[in-house]
Subunit: 308 residues, 4 copies
């Protein structure tokens, strides 16, 4: 067994649901195959975009198994182990690995009020619980804590962490992480979840990107990646600008919750492309509809994703 390489465009895949809230495995397979065919370099299941917080353990396992089967080894499958604290997160991680995930992505504790030494012990224990590589998921808007550069690089150097998925929106910290990681021999694969500044993040040295919007337009992110790899930075910038115009879909549901507005917009745009059957959101979220969904369709159409 060789360890897969974690880099490139790795969409945090949506979890399609049936109208009554069960995992729609047929749609999930279809979406997964579509993404792989579009050239993505990996997929990330059970992230925030995948509505992981809303899914039961049984549903989570179903999601991993479905995507692993649909991917069929063509690209690595990363999976989010999201729960309250160490013992519970480690349990999630074991279940993900058993279901076939190639890597586990874990957050710091939530609800608990911890300090950095506690968080470090937490990550060490989760890493020790599984045989697959562990990525730290840095998402302070959800867990309140920003992971420090030195803690991450130290855990990379020791082989505890294989990488970081940075959804902090703190690009200064991300550049410092890239430089500190390089100085340490690059033990960490560094992914940004910052979907609107991918050109700049690739220029400064990101190894990969986890853009929720890639569910809607994976091909555009793959083009952006290829242009960046070719050093065509101004073309990459132009592609990113086109993507930014599409990203306006997430700002249409003013007054709705962050989860409903963001994931809701992605699901509308993906459903209208026929990639999933419904735009149902996980309970207690309600799908976007009416005028809001109309504007999302219009933006998606303007991006050339819905035919004429």
């Amino acid at each position: 067994m060789t360890t897969p390489t974690f880099r490139g465009i790795v969409p945090p895949i949506l979890t399609p649901l049936t109208p009554d809230g069960e995992v729609d495995t047929a749609s999930l397979e279809r979406l997964t195959r579509h993404l792989v065919a579009a050239g993505v370099h990996g997929v990330f299941v059970l992230g925030s975009t995948g509505e992981v917080a809303y899914l039961t353990d049984a549903q989570r396992e179903q999601v991993v198994r479905t995507v692993v089967r649909a991917v069929d080894g063509r690209v690595p499958v990363m999976a989010g182990a999201i729960d309250l604290t160490t013992a519970r997160v480690a349990g999630q991680a074991r279940a993900l690995a058993a279901a076939g995930a190639d890597a586990v992505v874990a957050t710091v504790p939530v609800y608990a009020i911890n300090d950095y030494p506690e968080i470090e012990r937490h990550l060490r224990t989760v890493a020790a619980a599984v045989d697959v590589p562990l990525f730290a998921y840095d998402v302070p808007v959800r867990v309140r804590t920003k992971l420090p550069v030195d803690l991450l690089v130290r855990l990379g150097r020791e082989g505890v962490l294989a990488g970081v998925k940075d959804s902090s929106g703190d690009d200064v910290a991300f550049r410092r992480l890239v430089l500190a990681n390089a100085a340490a021999g690059s033990p960490l694969a560094l992914f940004t979840g910052h979907e609107l500044v991918v050109d700049g993040m690739l220029l400064l040295g990101a190894d990969g990107v986890v853009p929720g919007l890639a569910n809607v337009d994976a091909a555009a992110y793959v083009r952006l990646w290829d242009l960046a790899q070719a050093g065509k930075w101004e073309d990459a910038r132009d592609e990113q600008d086109r993507i930014a115009a599409l990203f306006e879909i997430v700002f249409q549901a003013a007054g709705r919750s962050g989860d409903a507005a963001g994931v809701g917009a992605f699901k509308v745009a993906v459903q209208r492309q026929g990639l999933i059957d419904t735009d149902t959101l996980a309970y207690p979220l309600e799908a976007l509809d009416g005028e809001v969904a109309g504007r999302i369709e219009q933006i998606t159409r303007a991006a050339g994703l819905l035919g004429d």
Copy 2:
């Protein structure tokens, strides 16, 4: 079957652990019987003070069953259903009720980013999942959201909520809740978790108190309650002042995390009284020791709780 009355002093009971992190059921029984003997009017298991976030599902069930058995029907047992979102919290709630809890206490979603209509649907669904009364647990320091007065009173009026455990520290909101609840015919039992201003909260109309410090000195809180019931407000104030001096134990571990400093101090003070076997904290927390533990002992001794 008659619904128990929820009022009075209801300690959020600590979860004693063995040195290797398992639930120490013998200590838990001993502590529970001690609290009941001290005259508390109920117990609350699996709250933040009970390190609920750190416990697995199996450990949680073990805690409820142990306390229910030790209480043996003498006072009601409330239990915290703490998980990420609706489906998962409802699952926890069902497990608690099945294990014998007399009421379930549920938080709003964490990790998820929800708005008030989503939170309201969340509470309705959790309530519908169980036959026992549901209390809303308002603890913004952990879940980021403050529950609004009108939402709570509306759900009380409709019979969805039986009460509120307020750990928000927002006394203006608590007084507004007390007044709005009274105007609605008092459908809600209103508990404060605000352990240092219990005199004032009882004066303004709180139905009960959930003070973590009651693990350390339950008798003092029972005296405070009795003085308030008797309208002896200045004596109640003096008792509260004595309790406040004891509360300084939670400020001794400067530089430690909130969970370690708070629960850690309670466990030291309770273990030194012989009520539990160890002061072990749930992983990844580390027990308080050395000079810090010494100061906690000293304050506990000064309160007359360790003999001479």
Copy 3:
């Protein structure tokens, strides 16, 4: 010259404005005389309720001189020195003292990002700049920093601070401050700005209250004070409950800014009583009107403050 005593009900007096935004000194005199006649024990000019942040230096001096003249020595006049940092705040403080203020109330720096040693030096320097007593104004919602108990008591013991006006809403910290101050020989006069839990705060030992709502109903707060002094705590509680019903005026302007909703409601309720000429707010705030003002009037009328 004897130092005045700072205790009791000390309203943070509104700054009435003419329609074109100048200080309406005639209304300010009238309101001041009304408050003194109602029995308040002091007045506090140029607080947040006085829209201090919106006033120029010239207007601030005008406010102090007007109120000092109207009070005519019957009660002490406290005045807020609100500016960005030390040199500027000290300058404000000198101007206030020169205009006749009996005490200066100063915040910690805003805009600047300081730590506690810097804040301590700041308070020492402001205190040294004036001959009148200095109060620290603890208002984290506006300045982001909560003043620690030990810093305040130390500065009290050394004679730097004469007191604290606590608008933090953190009652646990306030009780700890009361107890630590008592243990130190009570060098500090401790005022709460927490206008809905005055009964509880007086019970636990507050020396005074700075309730914005006392602009609207000073007599009620004076009655509450007198009942508390007489140890009639349940009558005090009932008075506080009546006041709480009136306080609902500040929750009527949903969707408006905090300053417009709060000060705007006070100005409507005071203007309708004829105590000031207009309900104009300082630019760029706009006065409350229409249905919102109607509801404020209705609540004020229900409190018996507008005749039948």
Copy 4:
């Protein structure tokens, strides 16, 4: 008179102080001339890096007059109008323009609690108070409010705002602002204060940069600018990486306040180059010294800025 062009590298110039805290005009002139000689395209006085919050009105005027004289028309001088609210900020703006500033940079209100319509009126009034162009200064870490894209572009279109200095660290919002501004005909000059991702920000379309670190190494930022203008993005990235290594100076004073750690590090590094006489910080800040200053010197030396 022609309006100057605002673009390129515009350092937020430090305010050198004498040991007793007065503006050291000789050092300020020397530093200014050094920056202009290094090729910067403008200077920004009285920003956060210039310790504006700590300076009196007289000192602020002295700073503007000194820099305007030293610049002698070779590049535009922008100046920060930092005060609590509208009337006061407008007064500051008038004083800056009278002292010779070519543009005014204003924040939203601080201490006050305002909403967006109030903030919009605020900016309109400040703009109307002066004849020179107005830039909005978006610095939520100090003023708590993030300026929305649509408000900024609307005020640009109407000629109220000439530009934005973005110190929000929110690059997603900055890209959306760049795109919305371009779609509106580019009425706004858009500056980033984000000193570590200048390569990416210039790639995506920033018009200029306001990097505090340019006080320490202006030539590096000018090289970075020139490389970006020439489309040599990978060389620009390498230059930015070198700059990032130097930026580590601001992380050396762990445990000190944000202002002392940041501005303090800049002053040490600039003083050691002989560009200013002392590294004195504005009261109540204390200069960095000892081991911390030693590490800052070492990093500055490693960047080749202190000779061998």
